[in-house]
Symmetry: C2
Subunit: 186 residues, 2 copies
């Protein structure tokens, strides 16, 4: 089915391999590279949406945008299709070693995750604890539950470790989240 | 199931109603309004993707983009989920009364439609013949077939009328394409 060419290498010398593999590459770049790998190998079609921008002024002579600002996104960053299923997720990185701050995710994004879940989507958040060198997939249901609990300001690392799934990493499929989907969703 | 509040009105006095309903509103606005209607009534979650932009220069003092240009999109404009199915489409308007020029759709967009179809998506193009006041849904398979036939420069109106589906229009759900999905896809 799906080929994970570096699976063996990762388990042999995980720490060194990952440090080398992810050197200078942030979470977004790693996911984009993974999605390109999925796309080129006809595994899945999942894209990052462009950042929404409000254009204020165009220069028609230059054909350029000369004044604009970033809008806050009303949906998640990534969506697409895998084995006939609609897939939707947000990806966030944190420097904390103990918790994921909920302020990292917007209210509209949580509402969007809830809505697509209701329609039958596979929806989740990819959380990277960069200082721990660990990336987790946490189902949207947990995010929605934590977010709607107003006393919470963050999700503890232990909670994510318990309810989420540690994502293994290959060379091209650096954040190999579809492996988790195969194991737990499809 | 789905409520089409203006179905009766449309069939009673179609021409006048549609002209009034769509006055000053282009295809994109009409589809966005329809998607908002679907979203607010928990019918489907389908969004237009932001236009991809290449940022050249940011002004950190103002927090504004001061130089940027439009990139050509590598995917279609719209995607989302309806009744558990991944839905993906492009929407185009033509002034022609006799044919839809294929130059209106980019090569990358056709490739994208082909790829999502292979993954099990419901994929199509919404084509508005604005001078005829008719909007059609044409399955991506026909677009891919016509596009890969290099002798074709356009798709004749008669071909679209034969293989496509005329989209009916309500007041809030102006381009009620999900009705076609219910009838022919789901």
């Amino acid at each position: 089915m799906i080929n994970y060419p570096n699976k063996k290498v990762v388990s042999d010398s995980k720490k060194e391999y990952i440090n080398y593999g992810n050197r200078g590459m942030n979470l977004e770049d790693s996911i984009n590279l993974t999605n390109t790998y999925y796309l080129e190998n006809n595994i899945a079609v999942i894209h990052k949406k462009p950042t929404p921008i409000q254009i204020i002024k165009l220069d028609p002579k230059k054909g350029r945008i000369v004044d604009a600002f970033f809008k806050s996104p009303s949906t998640t960053d990534y969506n697409g299709i895998y084995k006939g299923r609609y897939v939707d997720f947000e990806a966030k990185e944190t420097q904390s070693k103990t918790a994921f701050p909920l302020a990292n995710i917007g209210k509209h994004q949580v509402e969007h995750l809830k809505k697509v879940k209701e329609q039958g989507a596979i929806a989740f958040v990819i959380i990277s604890f960069s200082k721990l060198d660990e990336i987790y997939l946490l189902d949207a249901n947990y995010i929605v539950a934590c977010y709607t609990n107003l006393e919470r300001k963050s999700i503890p690392y232990s909670y994510i470790k318990e309810h989420g799934h540690l994502i293994s990493r290959g060379y091209f499929n650096r954040v190999d989240y579809l492996k988790i989907l195969d194991e737990y969703y499809i």
